[in-house]
Each structure stands twice: as structure tokens, then as C-alpha cells.
């Protein structure tokens, strides 16, 4: 059962089992048949042998009986004893044969035969033969004959017949045995045939079984599978075997399961499919959404790209115009605008895209009004829809609209700094776009602010650098390692940076120090000082050095630079102290010279008075001493005067009372006074100009000429001609004083006008002097906007030339208006918005014979100028608001041609703007409130100056009260 179960579990095992059974059957069949056949043959052969043995034995028995019979017969017949023995011997043989036969006897017949034989034998040998032999011996031969005749012979023959019958029976048996064998062999043949037939039947059956068990189910499977494949619904329970346990069974089960599962799955699938269809619908809907989203994303990406470009465009440059251009182009791209403009509100910078010059101009001209004003006021973006005009529509004929977006660029202080206007044709700006664009606007604001900050800082930096460059000191800033961080131009000029570096900035200490050292004398000390200064924790020190091959003296100040109380570097300021050094030098020389100069006359006075007081002196000696004392006292006095003059002049405290004076008059007076001091010199005054009037301080100019002429006398100890020549040259009145004296060595010429400088040589040691005369001459000349210079040939004489500004002559000008008006009196314009004040001034001036014309507006006065030319104008600076003010009038007038620009302007103002006014060309300045008489006096003075210039006679003004 188990095996069966086992076999049933496997088709192959089943097949093997089947085959085994078939084989077993075949083998067993063959064996059984062969064995049967063999048994049969053997049985028959044994049977045969047995029968043949029986036959043989029977034959021998028969023979032996016959022998015995004949022997006894012979004995009787011949009485031969041998025969009787042989007859008796036969009994033995027969008894043996009977034993043999007993062995092969099997059938009852055999045993009956055997018993008969044995019975007969016993009778024959036990009764008959002994009786007959005894009778025969007794000679009863008759009796023997009788016995033989009576029966003996008959029994014998019966026996013999029986044996022979049995023998034939056995022969028959052998015969029938053979026949039986043949018959049985034929049976065996039949059996073999049946066996073969049964094999065929079995095979056929097997095939059928296999077909039934395997092929059919398989083909069914195939069919079902095909049907399933074809998508038909199959009832597997009906069609398929499932109670089998072999592969097919399992296959079937599996198949069933599969089919069921497939069917289930198909159901599922159908379900799914429906779901899927539903989902697909959903997906399609989603796809549409996604596509929209994608489009949005793409737009966002574009926007991002634009934004990136935009940001890059902005961050790449710090140039305002470039950035503005980038902004507008990128903004137009991002917003898909067709036109756009961005403009600062309070600066001229702007950039546009797709807008004509005229359009730009129109926009810029209306920056402060219209929609821009709204933008500035509310600081919120807005859009405007408008119908496109003809040129914007292109070839489209139908109505189309343009949309303008106004975006404010608002700075951190929430002020609108710039406006951005974008224009789109056809498509309006959407709410969400506006939000994004406002984001951009913020970014733009930041960028612009950055640029402005950069500009500002750059401007600051440049200004700082400019300031540094204007500083006369060389400035160098180095870091803690001594690397140069900043310098100004002056530093490089001082140290000739260009000759040893392409740029001092960034140079290490060694490099720049070497460069600088090559320029100065105190190389080591200089280097030591700078190195220490850089290394010092805090330093505030200076060092003085000289530049090679020059007389330049510099002082370098080192100061540590701190930031948040931490040293970040060192600042070196190289100051050219050549002048200071010279001044220092001069000061100390000055002190020693003053000391010397003062002590010398003092010593004389002291010494001579002491001698006079302590010694008895002759009168002539007394006189000589007193004269010396007097001279020395005079010298001392003039020395002190000169010294004080120079001090005053240098301190700018000397006041000059300048008037129009005739220089020739002064010179003549000086010559007259100097002539007294000499007999060896003769003077010659040569006037080569008709105009010798200058504006100057009479006393000071007199001092100038006294100094120069007395010098000429002093330094031409051998006498000679002193020539004074007046001439006109390039707008100056020049006065040359020429002597034929000692002359001045060339190397002394430069220093000649320095204080206390005195040409130091033997031929002039006796010539006294303070060394201040020429310094005074120079100061006074400068104070008169003039100059003094010297030319000299050593040993032959010197020429000192004073030049003073020439007072121009108006008679040279050919202005008819001026001339004619002058004869009628002075015409004065008053420009004053305060009518009551104007009235007061008018009254005052008219009392002083002026013709007055008042204006409240400067522009009116300007118009009137063309009609009548005034001699002077009294101008108020602050005029009515919104009108041209005094400054404007003055600029306007001064920019006009002569004679307008020449009209003197007297400022009458409450403002303290003297300097600016005078710089602009005002003739004089009166600060309100002032006395009315001050104005007329000032006017007169001013006009007098002008008249003098023009050599025009004027009536004596009533100024000297």
C-alpha cells in the first residue's frame, strides 16, 4: 500500500513500476514456461525411463522365468543336474529384479503386478518345482507328466501371458507417455503463444494506461491551457483529474490552483484593470495638471535662469550704467516685457530697453509727475492698461492693448530711489507675476544700493586719496610687517618711487626701504628709525633727514595706527621741512645777527661814553666820540625800526594806506633827500612813460626807494651815476635803480632779499647796514601786488627793479557812453528789494549829486543797463525769493563785455560775504546797517579810483569831513 502510494506519487516511478511489472511478467512467464517445459520433458523422460526400466525389468523377469522354465524342463528332460541348478539360480535373479521393480513401482497396477509375480514366484519355487522334482526323482514321471500336463504347464503359460501383457501394457504406457509428452508439448506451445499474446495485450494495455494516465491528462491540460490562453472560462473541476498523487496529479492540482489563481488573478486583473482605467483617467487628469505644473516649472526655471543672469549681470559689475542696462534687459526678458525703462529719480542715470530716444526723453522729462508721482507717493507697484497706438500695433489691425507695469525701487529708508516701468503688448501682468516682479524690484534696490555704496565708498576712497595727494607731506601707511598699504603722490615724488619700483603699494619693508634709502643721506639711521617704528607697540616720534644732492630737509613722523585699540600699522608722514629748517637756521642766525647787529652800535656807544666819562679827552676827540655815538645811535634806531618793520610785515600786521599817488613825485623826493648824503654820486631820473600813477602807500613806497637808492649809494663807494628809470612794461610800472658800484656776486643774488643777508666780502665790510633793507623792499613790493628783482654784474654795478601794477588809463578806451555820461554826473543803479531802504539811499545819493535809478529786480536792472550805462551799481545780495539774486546779477554782469563788466559794484548787504563778493569782482562791500553817508563816500572813492585810472577829472567829492 505504501509502495503503491509511493508509486502513485511519481509518474516516472509509476512508469518504472509498470515497466518492472511488465518485465517481471515477461520474465516470470518465460521462466515458468521454460521451467514447465523442462519439467514436462524431464517428467516425461523420467516417466519414460521408469517405464523403460519397468519394461526392461519385466523383460528380464520374463526372460528369467523362461530360462528357469526351460532349465527345469531341460533337467526333467535330460536330468541334467546343471540345469536344475541354473533353474534354481534364476530364482535369485528374479528376486533381485523384483526388488528393482519394487523400487520403480508406483502405480497400484505395478504393485499388483509385483505381488502377482512375487506370488507366482513363491508358488513356482516353493511348491511346484520342489513337488515335481521330488516326484520326478521318485520317478513318478507320469505323475510329473500328469502334473505338467495337468496344470503346471497351463499356469505357466498364463503367467507368461500376464507378464507379456503387462509388458505390452508398459510398452503401451511408454507409447502413451510419449503421446502425452507430444500433446503436452503442443500445450506448451499454445501456452507460449498465449504468453506472447498476453505480452502484446499487456503492452497494449500499458500503452493505453500510459496514454490514459499521462497523454490524455496532458493533452487535456494542453487543451485547457490553450483554452485558458485563449481566454475562455474553463471549469477545471469538471475537466481535470485531481485525485492523483503523481506529478500529473500534482500538476493537475497545481494547474488547477494555477488556473484558479489565474482566474482569480484575472478577476483581480479585471478589477485592477477597472481600477487602472479609473486611475488612468485620474492620471490623465493629473497629467494635465502636471503639464501645467511643468509649464509653470519651466517658466520658473526660465525665471530662475533669468534671475541668475540678472543677478550675475548685476554682481559682475560695479559700473552703474552697466548694471542699469543689465537690469532693464534682464527684467524685460523675465517679465517678457516688450519695452522697459529704469531711471533714478534724483540722478541722471537711466537705462531703457526697446524705447526710442524721444521716448526716453519724454519719460525722463516727466519723472516727477504723472504716474511716476503716484509711484513715488504710494511706493506700490501698479499696472496700467492702454490701447496700443498705431506704431506699437505693427501690422495688426484689430484693437490691441498694452499693459504698463510701474515698479518702485524702494531703498532701505523706504524712499523710492528709482522707477522701473515695463510695458507688455497683449498680455496683462498677472497678480502672481506682480509679486515676483516686486521681489525683483527689491533685488534691484539692493543691487543699486550696493552700487551706490560702492560708488560712495569708491568716491570716499578716491576723495581720501585725493586729499592725501593734496597733502604736501609724503604719507605712507604700512602694515605690521612693514608692507606698504597706502601712499600719497607726494611720497613717491619725494623718493622718486618711479625710478625703483613700478608701484610702491604692496612692497615689503626691505624693498621700499632700500628704494628710499638710495635717496637720502642718513641711510642707516633712517632705516633704523623706520624699522623701530614699525616694530614698536606704540610710537609717536620723528626723524630728520636730508635728501641726497639737494638742500632738502625732511622730517618723518612715525605714528602707530590703532584700530579698536590694537595696532594695525604705522603711518609715516614725511614733511619737507627744508623751509622750516632754513627758517630755523635763519632764526638762529637772525638771533645771533640781531644780537650782533644790536651789540655793535651798543658796544660803541657804551665804550665811547665810558671813555668820555673816565678819561680826560681833547675836545676834538670828544667831538669825534660824540659824533660816533650819535651815528651809532642813529644806526641802532634805524636797525630797530627796520627790524620791527620786517617783523610786522612778515606777520602780516603791516597796514598799508593805499591811495592813487604819483610815483615819480615820491622818487624825486627820495633822490633829493639822498643827494645830501653824497657828493660823489650824481643822479639821473629818466621817465619813459606818461603814466606814473600807482595805487599805493606813500610812506612805504618812499621807504622802498630810500632803501634802494641809499643802497646804490652805499655799494658804489667810488661814486658814479645812479640812474632811476621809470617805464611801462606788460601792465606794470617799472622803476629801475641802477648804480655803477660793487655789484653782487651771482651766488648771492638768490639770498639778497632774505633778512639779515649781507653780501659777505671784504670790499663791503665797511659798509654798514642792517641786512633788512632789501627784505623790507620785497615785502612792500609784494604788498602792492608788485615785485622786486635784481640784476647785477659783479664789479660793475647792480640794477634793482621795482614793478608795481600800472593803473590803466580809461582815456585809452574808446567807450563813448562812458565819456558822455561822465560829463553829466554820476549815474548809479540801486538794486534793492526793500523799497524804504532804497528810498533812503536814493535821497542820500541825490544829495551828493548822483543820478539814481532804483530797481527791485536784478533782471530789470540788467535790461536797463543796455539803455543807459551807470557809473556804479549798489547791489543788495538777498533779493526777492524766486528772482535772480545779487550773486546771480554780479555773475551775469561780470560775464558781460566791457564796459558792462567794468561797472563797479558796491554790495550793500546784511550778509558777511565780503570775501566771496570781492572775489566775484565787487568793488567794495558795506554791511547793513551802515550810515547813508558811508555809501556815498564809498561810491565816490570807488569812482575816484576808476577816474584816476582813466585820467578823468572829477570834482572834489565832499568826503573830507
Amino acid at each position: 500500500m505504501k509502495i503503491k502510494n509511493y508509486l502513485q506519487q511519481s509518474l516516472s516511478l509509476q512508469f518504472v513500476g509498470l515497466m518492472l511489472r511488465v518485465l517481471l511478467f515477461i520474465v516470470i512467464g518465460a521462466v515458468v514456461i521454460a521451467f514447465g517445459y523442462r519439467q514436462l520433458n524431464q517428467f516425461h523422460a523420467n516417466q519414460n525411463n521408469l517405464l523403460e526400466q519397468k519394461e526392461t525389468i519385466i523383460k528380464q523377469i520374463d526372460n528369467s522365468f523362461n530360462q528357469a522354465f526351460f532349465d527345469f524342463r531341460g533337467y526333467f528332460a535330460f536330468e541334467n543336474e546343471a540345469l536344475k541348478a541354473s533353474g534354481y539360480a534364476q530364482e535369485e535373479k528374479l528376486r533381485g529384479l523384483l526388488v528393482d521393480f519394487e523400487e520403480v513401482a508406483e502405480t497400484p497396477e505395478d504393485h499388483i503386478f509385483l505381488d502377482d509375480v512375487r506370488e507366482y514366484l513363491d508358488y513356482y519355487y516353493g511348491e511346484l518345482v520342489p513337488e515335481v522334482i521330488t516326484e520326478f526323482e521318485q520317478g513318478d514321471r507320469e505323475e510329473v507328466q500328469q502334473v505338467a500336463n495337468q496344470g503346471a504347464t497351463k499356469t505357466l503359460s498364463t503367467f507368461q501371458t500376464e507378464v507379456r501383457n503387462y509388458r505390452s501394457k508398459v510398452d503401451n504406457q511408454i507409447e502413451s507417455n510419449y503421446e502425452l509428452l507430444t500433446e503436452r508439448n503442443s500445450y506448451i506451445l499454445i501456452i507460449v503463444g498465449i504468453y506472447l499474446l498476453s505480452i502484446i495485450v499487456i503492452l497494449f494495455r500499458m500503452t493505453r494506461i500510459m496514454f490514459k494516465n499521462v497523454g490524455q491528462p496532458l493533452s487535456e491540460f494542453a487543451e485547457v491551457a490553450n483554452e485558458i490562453a485563449a481566454g475562455k472560462e474553463v471549469d477545471v473541476n469538471v475537466n481535470l483529474i485531481s485525485n492523483r498523487k503523481d506529478e500529473l496529479g500534482r500538476l493537475s492540482v497545481a494547474f488547477k490552483k494555477m488556473v484558479v489563481s489565474l482566474q482569480d488573478k484575472e478577476q483581480d486583473l479585471i478589477g485592477h484593470n477597472e481600477e487602472l482605467i479609473a486611475q488612468q483617467d485620474e492620471f490623465e487628469a493629473q497629467q494635465v495638471e502636471l503639464e501645467t505644473a511643468l509649464a509653470n516649472l519651466k517658466r520658473s526655471e526660465n525665471n530662475l535662469t533669468h534671475r541668475n543672469d540678472f543677478v550675475k549681470g548685476i554682481s559682475n559689475s560695479l559700473n552703474k550704467q552697466t548694471v542699469l542696462d543689465e537690469i532693464i534687459v534682464n527684467m524685460c526678458k523675465i517679465t517678457e516685457a516688450d519695452q522697459g525703462i529704469i531711471s533714478f529719480l534724483d540722478e541722471d542715470d537711466y537705462a531703457s530697453y526697446g524705447i526710442s530716444k524721444a521716448g526716453e526723453e519724454q519719460f525722463l522729462n516727466n519723472l516727477d509727475n504723472g504716474l511716476n508721482e503716484k509711484l513715488v507717493r504710494y511706493k506700490e507697484s501698479f499696472t496700467v492698461k492702454r490701447e496700443l497706438d498705431q506704431n506699437e500695433k505693427g501690422f495688426h489691425e484689430e484693437k490691441s492693448y498694452g499693459y504698463d507695469l510701474y515698479l518702485p525701487i524702494v531703498d532701505v529708508e523706504n524712499e523710492v530711489t528709482a522707477v522701473l516701468v515695463l510695458s507688455r503688448f497683449g498680455s496683462p501682468f498677472l497678480e502672481e507675476q506682480l509679486e515676483e516682479y516686486e521681489g525683483f524690484a527689491k533685488q534691484i534696490s539692493i543691487s543699486l544700493e550696493n552700487i551706490q555704496m560702492y560708488d560712495q565708498s569708491e568716491e570716499d576712497r578716491m576723495r581720501n586719496q585725493d586729499i592725501l595727494n593734496t597733502v604736501l607731506e609724503g604719507i605712507q601707511l604700512v602694515d605690521l610687517d612693514g608692507k606698504t598699504i597706502q601712499v600719497n603722490q607726494k611720497l613717491c615724488n619725494t623718493f622718486g618711487c618711479n625710478s625703483w619700483t613700478n608701484g610702491i603699494l604692496g612692497l615689503s619693508m626691505v624693498e621700499w626701504l632700500d628704494g628710499m634709502k638710495s635717496y637720502i643721506q642718513e641711510k642707516d639711521d633712517f632705516s633704523l628709525f623706520l624699522t623701530r617704528a614699525i616694530e614698536a607697540v606704540d610710537i609717536d616720534d620723528s626723524f630728520t633727514y636730508r635728501i641726497n644732492n639737494t638742500n632738502k630737509v625732511y622730517k618723518v613722523y612715525a605714528n602707530s595706527l590703532f584700530h579698536d585699540e590694537e595696532k594695525i600699522g604705522t603711518v609715516f608722514v614725511h614733511r619737507d621741512i627744508t623751509k622750516e629748517a632754513e627758517i630755523d637756521q635763519m632764526k638762529s642766525e637772525f638771533v645771533s645777527t640781531v644780537s650782533h647787529e644790536l651789540r655793535t652800535p651798543l658796544a660803541s656807544i657804551y665804550g665811547y661814553t665810558e671813555l668820555m666819562l673816565n678819561r680826560e679827552l681833547k675836545p676834538e676827540r670828544q667831538k669825534k666820540y660824540l659824533t660816533t655815538i650819535y651815528q651809532e645811535t642813529k644806526r641802532l634806531t634805524s636797525l630797530i625800526n627796520d627790524f620791527l618793520d620786517v617783523q610786522r610785515m612778515e606777520a602780516g600786521k603791516q597796514s598799508y594806506e593805499k591811495k592813487y599817488i604819483d610815483l615819480l613825485e615820491i622818487i624825486e623826493k627820495v633822490v633829493d633827500s639822498q643827494k645830501i648824503n653824497t657828493t660823489e654820486h650824481h643822479f639821473e631820473v629818466q621817465v619813459d612813460t606818461s603814466f606814473t600813477t600807482v595805487l599805493g602807500d606813500k610812506d612805504k613806497l618812499k621807504q622802498v626807494f630810500t632803501n634802494l637808492i641809499s643802497n646804490a649809494i652805499k655799494y658804489s663807494p667810488n661814486g658814479g651815476k645812479i640812474q632811476i628809470q621809470l617805464y611801462q612794461d606788460s601792465g606794470y610800472l617799472q622803476t629801475a635803480i641802477k648804480d655803477e658800484g660793487l655789484g653782487i656776486p651771482t651766488d648771492a643774488l638768490d639770498k639778497l632779499f632774505s633778512k639779515f643777508y649781507r653780501v659777505d666780502n671784504s670790499d663791503r665790510r665797511t659798509i654798514g647796514g642792517t641786512g633788512l633793507g632789501l627784505a623790507i623792499v620785497k615785502e612792500i613790493s609784494y604788498a602792492h601786488d608788485g615785485d622786486v628783482f635784481v640784476s647785477s654784474e659783479y664789479g660793475k654795478g647792480s640794477t634793482f627793479t621795482i614793478k608795481l601794477p600800472l593803473v590803466e588809463t580809461i582815456s585809452n578806451t574808446t567807450d563813448p557812453i562812458e565819456s558822455t555820461k561822465a560829463d553829466e554826473g554820476y549815474k548809479v543803479f540801486i538794486i534793492e528789494d526793500d523799497r524804504s531802504l532804497a528810498g533812503l539811499i536814493e535821497q542820500e545819493l541825490e544829495e551828493n549829486k548822483f543820478f539814481v535809478h532804483s530797481f527791485t529786480k536784478a533782471t530789470d536792472a540788467l535790461k536797463q543797463l543796455k539803455v543807459e550805462l551807470p557809473h556804479a551799481i549798489v547791489l543788495d545780495l538777498n533779493l526777492e525769493a524766486g528772482e535772480m539774486d545779487g550773486w546771480g546779477f554780479m555773475r551775469e554782469l561780470k560775464s558781460m563785455q566791457v564796459p558792462y563788466s567794468d561797472i563797479p559794484i558796491i554790495i550793500s548787504s546784511a550778509l558777511e560775504e565780503q570775501d566771496k563778493s570781492l572775489a566775484l569782482g565787487a568793488a567794495d562791500y558795506l554791511v547793513k546797517p551802515y550810515k547813508a553817508s558811508d555809501l556815498s563816500r564809498t561810491l565816490l572813492q570807488t569812482l575816484l579810483k576808476k577816474e584816476k585810472r582813466g585820467q578823468i577829472f572829477i570834482p572834489d567829492p565832499k568826503k573830507d569831513e
Binding site: 644780537s595 650782533h596 656807544i605 665810558e610 671784504s762
Partner: protein
Amino acid sequence: MKKILLAEDEEVLRMLIVDTMEDEGYEIDEAVDGKEALEKIEQADYDLLILDYMMPQVTGLEVIENIRKNPLKKDAKILMLSAKNQQSEQEKILDIGADYFMSKPFSPLALLEKVEEIINEN
């Protein structure tokens, strides 16, 4: 008679000193500047040299330096007159080799006294 050389560029002072000294019987040679002084020193021996500090061309200091270098003249007695009366200047003058110093303005009688003192030392 004691012989004195006076080097002074100021004529009035020269006259003052000469008058003061000659009245007392000194023989005075005059030089108007350092250069002339050196020439005269070369030619004669003086009991005393009175030198002004500030003279044109060759100053009194230079004269002293020159003399002190000259083996023949280096022991000459020198009195320097100077308007420079600061302590530092005086020291400088004495350092360079002047034996005596007198600042301007000076008293001619005091100078005379000083000269007599110097000459009588020897």
C-alpha cells in the same frame, strides 16, 4: 712795549679799542678781518691777539683754529670779543682755543684791565 693785534671789522669799535690801548702805551696793529689778522700774525709776534668773533671772510674762530695748528704761533694768547654771549657760545669759543673771552658790548676800561692782567701774567 707790548704789542697787540686787534682784529675787528667794525671800524668804530676798532677805533675805540685802539684809542683805549694806545693811551696806555700799547702798540696796536689793526686787522679789518680774519684774513688780514692771519697775515699779520704770520709776519710778527704779538703779546696778545684780540679777535672779534664775527668777521667777514675768515671769522675769529677760524683764526684761532689756524693759529693753534701753527707750531710757531700756537702758544699765542688770545682774547675773543663776541656779541654771542650765550653760555654755549662762550664754551665753544674757549674750547676751540681762546684763552679769554669778553662779550659785547664791553667796557673799554675792563678790557684794558683784562689785557694788562694777561700781559703781566708772563
